[in-house]
């Protein structure tokens, strides 16, 4: 069966971002960009399913400016078979991404779509759920275990109280949690090979999707700074301060 994996280009997770001085946006100029960590886990899961013989083809898709081809190449180096880029310089919100993905799903007809549960820039945690809604598929969000069986997939999900297992009819959408797997590193030969793998480009227009944003960011600002605290000498002083000064115990 065929798997579609969506990957996003985001500011690297080690970078501490700052709002621009005018508060219009986050400053991402000259900042290291990477594949979103949750997306990397999605690629890894697809590759593992292929290694198990469950999956025959992995298609990696990303949306955004030309540079997001780098992230598709990363996915190809990790084991995806081919890539699709939806090229646009416009701002893409999760609803627009989900609609583009729906158009691609209709064309490619994958049995499984794997996405990260959220991107570490927008922190929305929406795209997978919205794609599932638009395509009418079942959704296994925040997955920590995925087992494909005959015509269905069993997904163990991380929920607030612990774990929950659901069974979804294929085709289905799965979004990955951190504990699903540990992504491998791409080896140099695989990075070289990835350069030769096919990568098609399309546009939201060609897919017939209206990507007009529905929400507008009026302002971005740093969060309220915490006052610098004090260091206490020992446990006795700590308990004393918590009782008399902070009055929290």
């Amino acid at each position: 069966m065929k798997v579609l994996v969506a990957v996003k280009r985001v500011v690297d997770y080690n970078v501490k971002v700052r709002p621009k001085a005018d508060g219009s946006d986050v400053d991402t100029a000259n900042v290291k960009m990477s594949i979103n960590p949750f997306c990397e886990i999605a690629v890894e899961e697809a590759v593992r399913l292929k290694e198990k013989g469950v999956v025959s083809e992995i298609v990696a898709v990303s949306m955004g400016p030309k540079q997001c081809q780098e992230q598709i190449r990363t996915a190809l180096a990790l084991g995806a078979d081919r890539g699709i880029q939806v090229e646009t310089d416009a701002e893409l919100q999760p609803l627009a991404v989900a609609k583009c993905l729906k158009a691609i799903v209709e064309k490619e007809e994958p049995q499984l779509v794997i996405l990260g549960k959220q991107s570490i820039d927008g922190d929305n945690n929406q795209t997978g759920q919205m794609l599932a809604a638009l395509t009418g598929m079942g959704q296994g969000t925040f997955a920590s275990e995925v087992n494909v069986e005959d015509g269905s997939v069993k997904v163990t999900r991380e929920i607030d109280g612990g774990l929950q297992t659901v069974e979804l009819t294929l085709p289905a959408v799965v979004t990955t949690d951190l504990r699903l797997n540990e992504p491998r590193y791409a080896s140099l030969p695989n990075i070289m090979k990835a350069k030769k793998k096919p990568l098609d480009t399309t546009t939201p227009d060609e897919l017939g999707v209206d990507i007009a944003p529905r929400t507008k960011t009026l302002k971005v600002e740093p969060p309220a700074e915490r006052q610098a605290g004090i260091k206490v000498a020992d446990v006795a002083e700590l308990v004393e301060k918590l009782k008399s000064e902070a009055k929290v115990i």
Binding site: Y13, V17, R18, P19, P94, L95, Q118, I120, D123, N124, N125, Q126, Q129, M130, A132, A133, G138, Q139, T141, F142, K154, R157, E158, I159, D160, G161, G162, L163, Q164, T165, V166, E167, L168, T169, A172, R179, P213, R214, T215, K216, T217, L218, K219, V220, E221, P222, P223, R226, Q227, G229, I230, K231, V232, D234, V235, A236, L238, L242, V248, I249
Partner: protein, 309 residues
């Protein structure tokens, strides 16, 4: 304006997160209706009717909603949501799972994890792991948003007298099935609702050493949390994880033990009122957000803390 709040419950009990979400709805203003979708969820619906500020409780009691599978509940929420200006749900795993699906069915771009209401269409929300606060305005006819519960003080659980109305529908999308669940059992308060939270990190070295934290927690009536490092190392189950990818907490007192203070962890706890850090590395980033820092070996400091409380 009229607002539909989706209740968080386990059929028997209404969860506290619902009360925080009603508080966010009050900040928007307008009539507030609460939807309780479940199976045998009469008790939860009654509790919702008593919450302050609720005008009507809609009860969808059907086997299809027993485990609140997103495929079934989202359809119901989208159908009912058409009649409202706002649809809100708590940003719990249940809310995050269901709400975007409902929004897509309504052709609306939802807004996740709101921490403040600036106007009926304008909200504040954290992005980039809480390092940036964005003010966003929605142009959609129906505003669909999940609410970061720790950012809103809960409304009173008693004193309201809302009308309870049955919704006679059953949406079974028949693409998903509940198989089972494994819930971690604990006598301590729920992590997201606790007044005091004590968390351990990689410095705890193993799961048995968390016993030290449990003893302190029992004296303080605290919940016990963990950093992602402690969870990934297998010390404790992942539902204890505090952080961007775990639970967001904002207790009166947060005690971080053997936690360095990575961005991902800070995103989950830096809105706590008082933060205490116990770490032997005085360069640990956690000290830059801690009100009280103690540079000490946790294996000496934590047992001593327990005896002194």
């Amino acid at each position: 304006m009229s607002i539909l709040v989706i209740a968080e419950h386990d059929n028997a009990e209404l969860k506290g997160a619902t009360l925080n979400t009603i508080a966010a709805a009050k900040a928007i203003g307008g009539d507030i209706d609460v939807l309780v979708a479940g199976s045998g969820c009469g008790a939860a619906a009654e509790a919702a009717a008593k919450a302050e500020g609720v005008s009507k409780v809609l009860v969808a009691d059907n086997a299809a909603y027993e485990h609140q599978l997103a495929e079934n509940v989202a359809k119901l929420v989208a159908d009912l949501g058409k009649n409202y200006s706002h649809v809100l749900a708590p940003a719990t795993t249940t809310g995050k799972n269901m709400l975007p699906r409902a929004a897509a069915l309504l052709d609306v771009q939802p807004i996740s994890d709101i921490i403040a209401v600036e106007g009926p269409d304008t909200f504040k929300r954290p992005i980039y792991a809480g390092n940036v606060i964005a003010t966003v305005q929605s142009s959609d006819a129906i505003k669909v948003a999940s609410v970061r519960t720790t950012a809103f003080d809960p409304v009173a659980a008693e004193g309201g007298s809302a009308v309870v109305e049955n919704v006679d529908v059953a949406e079974d999308a028949a693409v998903s099935k509940f198989v089972g669940e494994e819930l971690a059992e604990s006598d301590r308060p729920e992590l997201t609702a606790a007044r005091v939270v004590i968390s351990g990190g990689r410095g705890m070295q193993n799961g048995e050493n968390f016993e030290l934290l449990y003893k302190v927690a029992d004296k303080l009536g605290a919940a016990v949390g963990a950093s992602r490092a402690a969870v990934d190392a297998g010390f404790v189950p992942n539902d204890m994880q505090v952080g961007q990818t775990g639970k967001i907490v904002a207790p009166d007192l947060y005690v971080a033990v053997g936690i360095s203070g990575a961005i991902q962890h800070l995103a989950g706890m830096k809105d706590s009122k008082v933060i205490v850090a116990i770490n032997k590395d005085e360069e640990a980033p956690i000290f830059s957000v801690a009100d009280y820092g103690l540079v000490a070996d946790l294996f000496d400091a934590v047992p001593e803390l327990e005896t002194k409380l």
